[in-house]
Structure formats: structure tokens, C-alpha cells
Amino acid sequence: MRSESGTLGATAVSPAAVAHHEHRDDIGSKTGMWLFLFTELLLFGGLFIVYAVYRHKYGTEFHEAAHELNKVMGVTNTFVLLTSSLTMVLSVGALQRARVAESLRWLGATFGLACCFLVIKFFEWSAKHHHGIWPGGEHLHAMPPGEGMFFNLYFMMTGLHGIHVLIGMGVMGSIAARIRSGHVSASRYAALEFTGLYWHLVDLVWIFLLPLFYLTN
């Protein structure tokens, strides 16, 4: 609860005056950003509920099906994403300290790691696709219901996650341009900070996907 009352009540602000006084509310923006992150969490949350229910129903089939996934690729990708989270916070830290070039370098590294993640994901998916395992595919369709469910969940959840990685990369690109042009800087770095928050969320989701799919045997 707030007890002190502000001083603005005493000073009349005319519309014209407001127009010239640009006002920022960074805590407000951050509140909005976190609320957005909650919606993302709950979006994946729905899929986690589906996963939990079918894991409960088809425990053995899930274990069987998980053998088909490439654990090495899954773990490698985890390392890639965790490292990209590190480079992301370092980029924010560098910009806070007004080291623009360094910040851009770390951001570039994050972007590169995201690419790396997607490339590995691509090989993984195409290997599955090669064996006829993809949503609507012949082989997947012929599997026992529980195993089919596992792979459909795998594609839905990693697919939705992959889309988030792509979006994150797009945002990083535009932020890099805005850092270069000086619109995002040491005195106004919130945009980069929020990109970071989003990116860590993508990482956070993946941290849960790893044991749910790759380490389920």
C-alpha cells in the first residue's frame, strides 16, 4: 500500500505541455512484458497438461517411443540454448555499461547459437521425417496409439518452441539495428532487456522439454 501522495496534484499539466514532455514508465512496461511472458507460459502450460495426461495413460508406450529420439542431439541443443542465454545477459550487461560494440557482439553470438539450435533441430526432424514419423505421416499413423501420441506431442511442443526461437531471432535482428542506430542505448536499454526476458523464457521451456521427451526412457 502506498501512503505518500504525489506532488503532481498541485501542478496543472495542460495538454500542450504534456505533448512536449515525453514520459517513460519502465516499470509499467516491464509489468506488461511479464504479463506477456505469463501468457506464453500458460500457452505451453496447456500442452504440458496434455502431455501429463497421456504420459499417465500411456506410460510404457512413452518410454518405448522415447528411445527413437536422439538424446545426444537433445542434450547438445540444451547446451546451445543455455549458452545463448548467457550471451544474452552479457549483451544486456554490456549495453548497461555503455559498451555498445561488445553488446552487439554478444547479441550476435546469441543469434548464432539460436541458428545452431535450429540447424540441429532441423537434422533431428528431418531424420524423423525420413522414417515416416511426422504428424499425419504413414509410419506415425500406424504406430500404437500411445507412441503416436508421444511423437505428435513431440512435434507439437518442439514445433511451438521452434516457432518461438524463430520469433526471438527476428526480434534480436531488429534490436541489433536499433542498438546500432542508437535508439536502444545505455540510458534506454529496456527493449534489449525485454528481448532477453523473452529469450530466457524460450530457454526455460526447453529445459522442461528435455527431460519430458529425450530423457524418458
Partner: protein, 548 residues
């Protein structure tokens, strides 16, 4: 947003154009929360009119047994459309999108919401969703016929255009989320100096609780609807028993959102009632904290009761018991509100004006809705009335008698503020009377025939249900004539009404401290707050001074 409000020392009100753009363009590009609210109103009442018409057609077909005017397939599409439009396009955005947008910043003493551009974007997303919903009527396999609930596996098998309708609902969800995010941030950040959380008007509390539900619950239905689309296009089988999926899981996911969302519809309406009663009783509200916190309690407990929609689907008996007891818990904070409202009238100095009549009408109709809900909460009785006309009656008593009437009450309360004009009082009271009579004629027979065993979503029925159906159909005509008189009276007032003073009802919240209609930046002098929201002392002193 500040740029669009330039203009050297502008003194007009927000309804007049300002800046470089004029006319329609000025509206379509505005970030003014009041204009956005009115844009929502225009779009939503268009859809409301369509859905009312569909409802009239449903009632007409059901007036007599046998099929008279439409085929069963068309009938099924009629109730699906009626539900989809009323729920997703009218009553979910409902009060928050119109009066939340217009009144929240005014009541907080702010000059706009936290994210004005996002606010405009959410209107466009709403329109995009609406266009998609309309497209689903004309392209592809025909008008959806699944009911607004899109239950699997019927929704997976139906040859009609389910995917597009589902996608429309998905898109509309984003609009809802954006509005919710905006309101939460606004409430946290933009309250006037001196306005702590517990000095906030109760309408803002209602919106705060609502916004949290929108933000937390909507994504769940978003992903569920996406899965339905994936299921229809790729056959992923999550809800298809033929592929090992579980149709009950769809219902769980659907109601995890769709039960809390009935509180999205009702909480802002309860907020409106909590504004109107103290104003027309001329006294402070009874039990401010109880009303405010019961909104939060309803929002939280509301998350835990979705299973009562599923008492006959074959859930485990344990789950049925758990959800039954939780359902009864949600009745308690609702009761607290009603009792506090009644106590607010006690020893007041009451003026009977149209907004108060609508508020009292709300309490009456919503009480019937809430009390019939107890029958649905108790296990053995719900088994009998589940999926019958009783549920339809109960639902309309809560949602239309509650959320809808709450919206009408808000319109009569804030119309003078929004448009700066008074409507005809006598005509407004007539419209209210017609509506109340018609409403009960329409929906009470549904309760009766539901108990008799009339299932819902029936295009045709057995002869024993004829009398209640006939009464309900006649009631629908009376009720709609009430709505028409009401809307005509209000719309006429925009041009022909007498100019409204800044505070026609002697209200105490901040929106009454600015002019009617308000200027673009809401307040010539930004207000600060030193008392609770319903403190009538200053108004009484002023009146006494005038009397002397």
C-alpha cells in the same frame, strides 16, 4: 500517443476531432481509450443485433413442435452462431472492452491506459477475429454446426467450416489478452496520487480480477483450439478416441478456460453495480473491502470449478465430488457481494433513476441465475438437469441477466458522461419494465421445461414441452421490444438529449470530476485523492450550502 493529442491548448472534448486527421480516419487511428471504447461498442452492438436476431429465429422455430421454418441442420447452425457471436464477440469483450476502456483511466485519474497503441491494436485484432468468424459462414464446408463449445469428436468429424470458426476464436483470444495486460499494468502504474489499491473504485477491482483471468486463462484455450485445428488438418489424434485420444481431455482444457471466462463476463458487471448503488443511495458503499476482495476470491476459486460442466461425461467419481464442493465455495463470495449491495441501500437517500433500476434488475435476475446454479452444483440434481433447458435458462439468467443487464446498467449510468447528453428518463424506465417482463417470460419457462426433461440443442421436441416453449417464444418478443426501446432511447439522446452536467447523478468517483464529455486528456487538472471512492461528504456539504 502524446503526438496525436497535440494542438495548442486544445479545449474541446474527445468526441471532436483534433490533430491532423478528421472524421473516420481520426477514429480508426486513435489511441484515445475513450474513442477505442466507443469503437468496440459500435462493433459489438452490431454483432449483438445479429445474435439477437438468430436467437429470435431459434425461438420462432421452437414455438411449436415439429420443424416449421428451418431444417435441423440450419437450426444447429443457428444456435452455434448465436452462441459463438454472443460469447466470443459480445459478452467476453463486453463491459471491459467498452466501459473498461472508457472508464478505467477516468476512474483512476489517469489520462489513458498504460499501452495506448496496444489498446488500438487489440481493437484491430478483435475486428480481424470477427471477420474470420464471418468468413466461416460463407467459405468452405458450410456454417459451423458444433455448438459454441466445439466438443470433440463431433467438431473433428463435422464437415462444416469448424477450423476457421475455431481459428477466429483463437484470434479473438489475443484481443482479450491484450486488453487484460493493459488493464493490469494501468491499475498498477497509473492510479492518481493518493489512490491506494483500497481507494480504487470497485469497478476497477472488478476489472483487475477480470484482467488476471483473461491473461492467465485465455492462452490455455488458445492452445486447445490450435490443437483442434491441427487435429482436423493433420489428424494428430489428441482428442480422437479412434487414435487413442480422449475427448474428455478436450472438455477439461476447454472448460479450464471457459469456466473462468464466465467470471470475465460477470465480474465487471458486478463492478458496475457496485458503482451505481452508492451513487443513487447517496452514501458510501457497505463493506468496501469485502466487495473488492470477493472479486479476487471469485477469480481464484473460479479456476477450480470447471469440472461441474462435466458431471455426466464419465469423470472419476472423486473428481466429480471435488469439483462439486469447490463449486459451492464460489457461491460464497458471490453471496457476500449481494448482501453488501443490499446493505448499501440501507439508510441511504435513494433516487429511483434508470441506472438504479437496471442495477436492481441485475441483482434480481442474477440472484435467480446464481441460485439455480446451486442445483447444478449439487451432484445428484445436476445429473438430472445437466444438458437440459434448465442449464440454458440458468446460463442466460447469469450471463444475460447478469453480464448483459450489467452492461445496460453501465450504459444508463455513464451515457451522460460519455456523450454529454441525457436520455429520456420515462422511456428508459418503460424499456426496463418491458425487458424485465420479457426476460422472465423467456427464460423462466426454460428452467421449468429443463426440470421436466427437455434436453438442450433440440431442433424439435416432444409434445409435453409445448406450453413452456410457447411462453418462452412470446417472451422473446417482449424482451426484444424492450431492448429496441432502450437502444433507440439511448441513441436518440446522442443528438437530441439535453446537455448533461459534469456530475448528473451526484457520483463521487473521479470520472464525475471532469466535464461531460471529458476532454482528450481526461482532466484539465490531474486529480489527486484524499478519501475513499464513495465519500459523499463533500457533495452533501455542497448541497447544503446551495440550499442555504
Amino acid at each position: 500517443m502524446a503526438e496525436s493529442k497535440t494542438g495548442p491548448a486544445w479545449t474541446g472534448n474527445y468526441l471532436q476531432d483534433y490533430g491532423s486527421r478528421r472524421g473516420l480516419m481520426a477514429w480508426l487511428t486513435t489511441t484515445d481509450h475513450k474513442r477505442i471504447g466507443l469503437m468496440y461498442a459500435a462493433a459489438m452492438f452490431t454483432f449483438f443485433a445479429v445474435a439477437v436476431l438468430l436467437g429470435l429465429l431459434i425461438r420462432l422455430e421452437l414455438m411449436n413442435p415439429g420443424m416449421q421454418y428451418v431444417t435441423p441442420r440450419v437450426y444447429n447452425s443457428l444456435f452455434t452462431l448465436h452462441g459463438v457471436i454472443m460469447i466470443f464477440l459480445f459478452i467476453v469483450p463486453g463491459i471491459p472492452a467498452i466501459f473498461g476502456n472508457i472508464m478505467l483511466p477516468l476512474q483512476l485519474g489517469a489520462d489513458d491506459v498504460s499501452f495506448p497503441k496496444l489498446n488500438l491494436a487489440s481493437w484491430y485484432v478483435y475486428i480481424a477475429g470477427a471477420i474470420l468468424a464471418l468468413m466461416s459462414l460463407f467459405v468452405g464446408g458450410g456454417v459451423p454446426d458444433t455448438g459454441w463449445t466445439f466438443y470433440a469428436p463431433y467438431a473433428l468429424r463435422s464437415g462444416s467450416n469448424v477450423s476457421l470458426a475455431v481459428f477466429a476464436a483463437f484470434v479473438l483470444g489475443f484481443s482479450s489478452i491484450m486488453t487484460g495486460m493493459n488493464f493490469i499494468t494501468t491499475i498498477h502504474r497509473l492510479r492518481a496520487p493518493g489512490m491506494g489499491f483500497f481507494r480504487m473504485p470497485l469497478f476497477c477491482w472488478g476489472l483487475y480480477a477480470t484482467s488476471w483471468i483473461q491473461v492467465i486463462a485465455t492462452p490455455v484455450v488458445g492452445i486447445t483450439l490450435l490443437l483442434v485445428i491441427m487435429e482436423r488438418s493433420l489428424g494428430i489424434g489428441f482428442f480422437d478416441p479412434a487414435r487413442g485420444g480422449d475427448p474428455v481431455l478436450y472438455q477439461h482444457l476447454f472448460w479450464i478456460y471457459s469456466h473462468p471466462v464466465v467470471y470475465v463476463m460477470i465480474l465487471p458487471a458486478m463492478g458496475v453495480i457496485s458503482e451505481i448503488l452508492p451513487t443513487f443511495a447517496g452514501r458510501t458503499v457497505f463493506g468496501y473491502k469485502a466487495i473488492a476482495l470477493s472479486s479476487m476470491a471469485i477469480a481464484i476459486v473460479g479456476y477450480m470449478v470447471w469440472g461441474h460442466h462435466m458431471f455426466t461425461v464419465g469423470m472419476s467419481d472423486t473428481a466429480r465430488r471435488v469439483f462439486s464442493i469447490l463449486t459451492f465455495l464460489v457461491a460464497i463470495p458471490t453471496g457476500i457481494k449481494v448482501f453488501n449491495w443490499m446493505a448499501t441501500l440501507y439508510k441511504g437517500s435513494i433516487r429511483i433513476e434508470p441506472p438504479l433500476l437496471w442495477a436492481v434488475g441485475f441483482i434480481f435476475l442474477f440472484s435467480i441465475g446464481g441460485l439455480t446454479g446451486l442445483v447444478n452444483g449439487a451432484l445428484s440434481t445436476d445429473i438430472h438437469v445437466h444438458d437440459t433447458a434448465f442449464v440454458v435458462g440458468h446460463f442466460h439468467y447469469t450471463m444475460f441477466g447478469g453480464a448483459g443487464v450489467g452492461l445496460f446498467a453501465a450504459m444508463h449510468y455513464w451515457w451522460p458522461k460519455v456523450f454529454g447528453r441525457m436520455y429520456n428518463r420515462k422511456r428508459a424506465i418503460w424499456a426496463w419494465g418491458l425487458f424485465m417482463v420479457g426476460f422472465n417470460l423467456l427464460y423462466f419457462p426454460m428452467l421449468v421445461m429443463g426440470i421436466m426433461g427437455m434436453p438442450r440443442r433440440y431442433a424439435d421436441y416432444l409434445p409435453q414441452f409445448h406450453t413452456p416453449h410457447l411462453i418462452a417464444t412470446i417472451g422473446s418478443w417482449v424482451m426484444v421490444s424492450g431492448i429496441i426501446v432502450m437502444l433507440w432511447n439511448l441513441i436518440r439522446a446522442i443528438r437530441h438529449g439535453a446537455p448533461a452536467p459534469a456530475n448528473p447523478w451526484e457520483g463521487t468517483t473521479l470520472e464525475w470530476q471532469t466535464t461531460s464529455p471529458p476532454p482528450q486528456l481526461n482532466f484539465a487538472v490531474p486529480p489527486s485523492v484524499t478519501t475513499g471512492p464513495y465519500d459523499h461528504t463533500a457533495l452533501r456539504a455542497a448541497a447544503a450550502k446551495e440550499a442555504r
